[in-house]
Symmetry: C2
């Protein structure tokens, strides 16, 4: 019996026939996640329904030294759930129950396959919601959010996933089940913070206790148009400097605006607008008006062309739906695109956007910008056509150069999408070899044989002339992809 | 030459004559920190003035396998800076410079010996402040705050130290100097979160980049008196349930009120009050009044006896000064006291306070309660007289029992004081042996020879009949101490 056949037989024995995919045609879907330019063929995909099933699967794979990858909805944008080739994917989508809600102490317990937005929908009748809101929130899972430490538009005020995780149940590399956190302010080392954002390299999260928040009494949203991204950038700095803590400040530039107007939720952005800010404040009802007025007056000081406040929840919802289609909308104006995810000090916004414009001009590739301006989290969208010889390589190179532009001003290579496959080599922009080795040493405590999401997140030890695409130890290959 | 003499000679060679204490009479001060019931004699105390000097000292001690303890102002309450006996204390008090302030990006860089309140005082003219505010903020150091992940009254709204640390420079066990964090949302593992709160066991922090906040436009403070801690507890839950996020909600019970009225900042709390709440809201000016009014009405629903709002900043300042003397004030009503630091889910406040009252009645020791009610962080103050045979032991035992009362409802053994020496054995209340071993394995990545704050924070591997006081590997001994 071949090794694969033996593994498949054992997985079926443990999980049942309907919980194992192993035929090539069934595996194609799992060759990549939301980052479609890298692909690798998994050995199999398994669908455990409980913590015990995850534990049993991991125990067997650990004993047989077969690497494995936890996967949520596969919406990740850095290739965290993409195989290099030959791994078993452990899909958590069948573990999608809401286990408990404690409104008094503002906690909810969910399984990892539970959909982000479903949590808010399930508790909204009691006046509560779950704050982290990635654009993919209607389909991404909270387990995936924990793995990538996902952010979202409202993280400016409310923080990213790690600020909302209170406890984790984790299956370790050998199948052992442990609880981390769960008590308020757990003493000892912050292992919960360590696991959150570890992209599945330290364990498989099988239950998550999250903080839930009371709905704000009032919300107001304004949309402001500018003749330049510089003016919009200075308006963002001005709003923060005025002491307002908005729930969100999002920016889209001209190309992004063109995209969203051609996509599924157009809202009639004026033709030719160079930049739009979507600004939201929330909190107690009294005082909201004053904050919006102050934001309006800051925008006026920075040459705003037009500014309007959403008339009601319906209009506000339409504006956000428009903004949240921005990535996908690139498909309407380009055959393919690559999303980047850099972070910069907020005061350097204008300068870095100018640098990115230069990179665009030099490379000949258009770059749209749609991003969380309030916390300096840029998302350059690099538009390209993979049918043109070498243009996928060029787009990847341009992506790395936008990250270099971020790190050059003291920024970072990821704000919310994670490192995954895509930015393994870019880790060298922010860490020395020694620092990377130290992180790998920490990994080895929890993942001694590198079977848990094999070779993700960290580059190989430095070697001269290493080609960026030759990542990992497996066979993942960069693909020419058309949308 | 004896080993100690050789070490002293080398330290003087590296740091100069005025930077080394080694005579017994000079070392007495360093036998303990703010937790005075455990003491141990250090081998020497050294005072480096720069990161390089810390590095040089650590390198030599590492090579000679001499354990060492970083120390800030020595205000810690769990014995984190207390020697077991035979360690070298590395005092960071000479590294007390403010290195940089970046108002645009709201960051400040300080050396570890920089005093917490001095930071706020240094930036207040620009309208900024540093949020974490332990009661000892006028003398504790930010380095010590990082080591213990210190909290404070306003952490209900603003979070504890770890939520305000943006980057660290750390001297590792072998003297190597590394930067951790420093870039926004650093990719890879959250080592900054790991080091924050690690009580000096993972490295010596030599520079800290912290978030600074804009002063709120307005603040209002109310003081409410109740006939029972139950009513006050339900008022706290009611305020949170009303959707208000106060900057602080502090509670003092009858004994604590008697104490602060006999201490240095009495404010005339009514005789016989069973509980007082100090409630503060801050933010934009509009809306503050409504929040105070809503808090008043919640208190009225829970049988408040009297409630008043501070007339001005001066009165507010006096109220806070009164509250912040509460620990020390115990000296006015008891020969000695022990502070505990448990955390519970907010909804269990009333129940756990009743349990603590039972423990007090059973043991015959009075227990005062003064605490951060809004985030469920209790500080039982156990009053005792060490001149009575066995009463120090009894107080320590009562302290552990209050922690058991917290963990029994899903709480924890420390909210902001750390584990140190005091709560090493209490770690077993929240962690299994396997979980503790896993944390020690993580420690071994950064502290392979256990020289960095030797044996702190974690219990020894479980042994039957082990006596709590026999902590650590050194000679620290519990002392009978009088105030």
């Amino acid at each position: 019996m071949t090794e694969k056949a033996e593994m498949v037989e054992e997985m079926i024995r443990q999980l049942g026939d309907d919980a194992v995919l192993h035929r090539k045609e069934d595996l194609l879907t799992y060759e990549c996640d939301g980052l479609t330019v890298y692909r690798g063929m998994p050995l199999a995909v398994v669908f455990p329904s409980s913590t015990e099933e995850v534990s049993g699967v991991v125990k067997w794979l650990h004993e047989h030294e077969i690497p494995f990858i936890p996967r949520g909805a596969g919406t990740g944008l850095s290739g965290g759930a993409t195989p290099f080739g030959g791994e078993v994917i452990i899909s958590l989508v069948r573990m999608k129950r809401l286990l408990d809600v404690d409104y008094d102490n503002r906690e909810a317990v969910v399984q990892p396959g539970y959909i982000n937005l479903t949590l808010t929908n399930s508790i909204t009748h009691k006046g509560f919601y779950y704050a982290p809101d990635p654009s993919s929130q209607a389909c991404c899972t909270i387990g995936g959010n924990v793995a990538e430490n996902a952010g979202g538009a409202h993280c400016l005020k409310y923080g990213v996933t790690t600020n909302h995780v209170l406890g984790l149940e984790v299956v370790l590399h050998n199948g052992e089940i442990v609880e981390i956190g769960g008590v308020p302010d757990a003493p000892g080392y912050d292992l919960m913070g360590l696991v959150t954002g570890s992209e599945g390299t330290l364990g498989i999260v099988t239950s998550i206790t999250v903080r839930i928040l009371k709905n704000p009494e009032a919300e107001e949203t304004a949309m402001a148009y500018f003749d330049s991204v510089e003016d919009a950038s200075y308006a963002v700095s001005g709003i923060i400097a005025a002491g307002i803590v908005p729930a969100a400040i999002e920016m889209m530039d001209e190309i992004a605006i063109q995209g969203v107007e051609r996509a599924t939720n157009p809202v009639g952005h004026p033709e030719g607008s160079k930049a739009v800010l979507i600004m939201e404040v929330d909190g107690i009802a009294t005082g909201i008006e004053e904050q919006i007025e102050e934001m309006v007056s800051v925008c006026e000081r920075h040459n705003v062309v037009d500014i309007k406040v959403a008339k009601n929840d319906r209009e506000r919802g339409r504006w956000w739906a428009n903004r949240k289609t921005a990535f996908g909308a690139m498909g309407a104006i380009s055959p393919a695109y690559l999303v980047q995810d850099g972070v910069i000090p907020r005061s350097r916004l204008s300068e870095v956007l100018a640098h990115i414009a230069d990179i665009s001009a030099e490379s000949g590739l258009r770059i749209a910008n749609v991003f969380h301006a309030g916390d300096g989290n840029l998302h350059p969208l690099i538009l390209f056509d993979a049918r043109n010889e070498g243009e996928t390589d060029l787009a990847l190179d341009v992506g790395s150069r936008t990250l270099e532009a971020c790190t050059a001003v003291g920024g970072s290579i990821t704000g919310e999408h994670g490192v995954g496959i895509e930015k393994k080599e870019d880790m060298r922009l922010v860490f020395s070899d020694e620092e990377i080795e130290r992180q790998i040493t920490v990994r080895s405590v929890f993942n001694p044989h590198n079977l848990l999401n094999l070779d993700k997140q960290f580059p190989k030890p430095a070697r001269c002339g290493e080609v960026k695409q030759a990542v990992g130890s497996g066979e993942a290959h960069q693909v020419a992809e058309q949308r």
